[in-house]
Symmetry: C2
Subunit: 305 residues, 2 copies
Amino acid sequence: MSVLVVGSVAFDSVETPFGARREIVGGAATYFALAASHFTRVHVVGAVGEDFGPEHMAVLERRSIDLEGLERLPGKTFRWSGRYSYDLNARDTLETRLGVFETFNPRIPEGHRSPGLLFLANIDPDVQLAVLSQVKRPRLVGCDTMNFWIEGKPESLRRLLAQVDMLVINDSEARQLAGEASLVRAAAIIRAMGPRILIVKRGEFGAAAFDNAGPFAVPALLLESVVDPTGAGDSFAGGLMGYLARHAAAGEISGRLMRRAIAMGSVLASFTVESFGVEGLLHLTPEQIDQRFAAFRELSHLGDA
Amino acid sequence: MSVLVVGSVAFDSVETPFGARREIVGGAATYFALAASHFTRVHVVGAVGEDFGPEHMAVLERRSIDLEGLERLPGKTFRWSGRYSYDLNARDTLETRLGVFETFNPRIPEGHRSPGLLFLANIDPDVQLAVLSQVKRPRLVGCDTMNFWIEGKPESLRRLLAQVDMLVINDSEARQLAGEASLVRAAAIIRAMGPRILIVKRGEFGAAAFDNAGPFAVPALLLESVVDPTGAGDSFAGGLMGYLARHAAAGEISGRLMRRAIAMGSVLASFTVESFGVEGLLHLTPEQIDQRFAAFRELSHLGDA
């Protein structure tokens, strides 16, 4: 089953206590697609500017990601710059320049209007809605959002949430969206808005999930070295959706498969944060992924009852 | 196997967004002993002042905790007051009055100098050392400490750490003690100081452990309502040591038993934070504990390989 993702392709500039990089290829759709590409065919819908050259395109092409839906528009590519302190869970955004995303109106190529799975990465909820209206209902629609849209476009966001199966957001954003400090209560409120599956990203502390199969929580892998957390959440979503796409048989996606998919999301995120930018996702082998999945399983294994 | 704990017995005053309590019975040894008492016989070594009346003593007596080593000294009982905001992971200490702990010189009663397990709760490391020197080597010695002692008595703390098997501390304290931001690297540094087992408490995000069996991490239970986090860490340690005391056979304590003990620590901590003070620990039934242990196992269960 294939995955279609719509979201940003960007130039990121990051500073962390362990180094800095300027104008490297990033963006939510990029991290998502590179992570998911280890499991299935990925189609990207997004936009870049005239400054996005063949050498930048090559980053995505190397993993055989389908770029038919990546439009090149007049103007500049989306740029984001941020800084992390030693507490890598928090970051300061230094600058955001939307560039071609200011007027981006997504068009799904004819051949990709029946995706197996669809992920609406963090982007204007009106753009997410525009994508949703162009596709034949996929097996599962996942989406991400952020505080900026929760505050700035609450009505569009509500319309969107009523139509998605799964929402993947940060801990603090879940509480903000629900207006409720207790995560368990916030989850019930958010699920009543539409998504039957809520997945909460908790940075270095892992992830929690709420669906009809009951609560699920996993720690993150304990890594010796984390140099750049940028893209961790999008890699998590990409690993998760890619794994679902590869392993979901016909019918309902089981709670059991979803748990493994969340674990695989954590595995892909762990590779991302060990290097700057997307470097950690480019040269992974299936063996490295399997090994770390086994380590993840062992990490919180309690033994038999 | 019995557990001996040395630590504070106190009057706590707490304010949280969900209410407040004044001068309720608290202290590290109290929470530890109440949690451990659900699994084994517990002996408390500590001190209270003349203001600690029979009604306060009754809190500990109700769970058949042995109080022969709890001295009543001239002066006032240790008092602590603190405030929590909606982020229940952080707290402000408003006041600490040591009272009888200012000059406390622990004496282990004759009959308790060969404890099965010993826990040195957070207290002056010189007091922890004085206890250790009075006992015949237990099967396992665990201890806790805090930033105040890491900064104020580094040499005594180092002498202590060289003699303990297990250190149970907070995430930020582990990084501070090691002088290292990476938790994995910090764990290696701390284990080189003495304790072969390091257990890191992460509040609402669970716990991580480092021992010869490899890294282990668990999320915390997802609770609908947390009203007062005071004593969570001490209840965690009490549940953990109590479970070990009940289930450890002769010989080395296995990594597998340790994992279950950590899970049981998490279970006892979860009962503590749902009510003010020690209320949540007083009336638990074995069935309630077993049920929540099963829920904990289910929470992060990934299914078979």
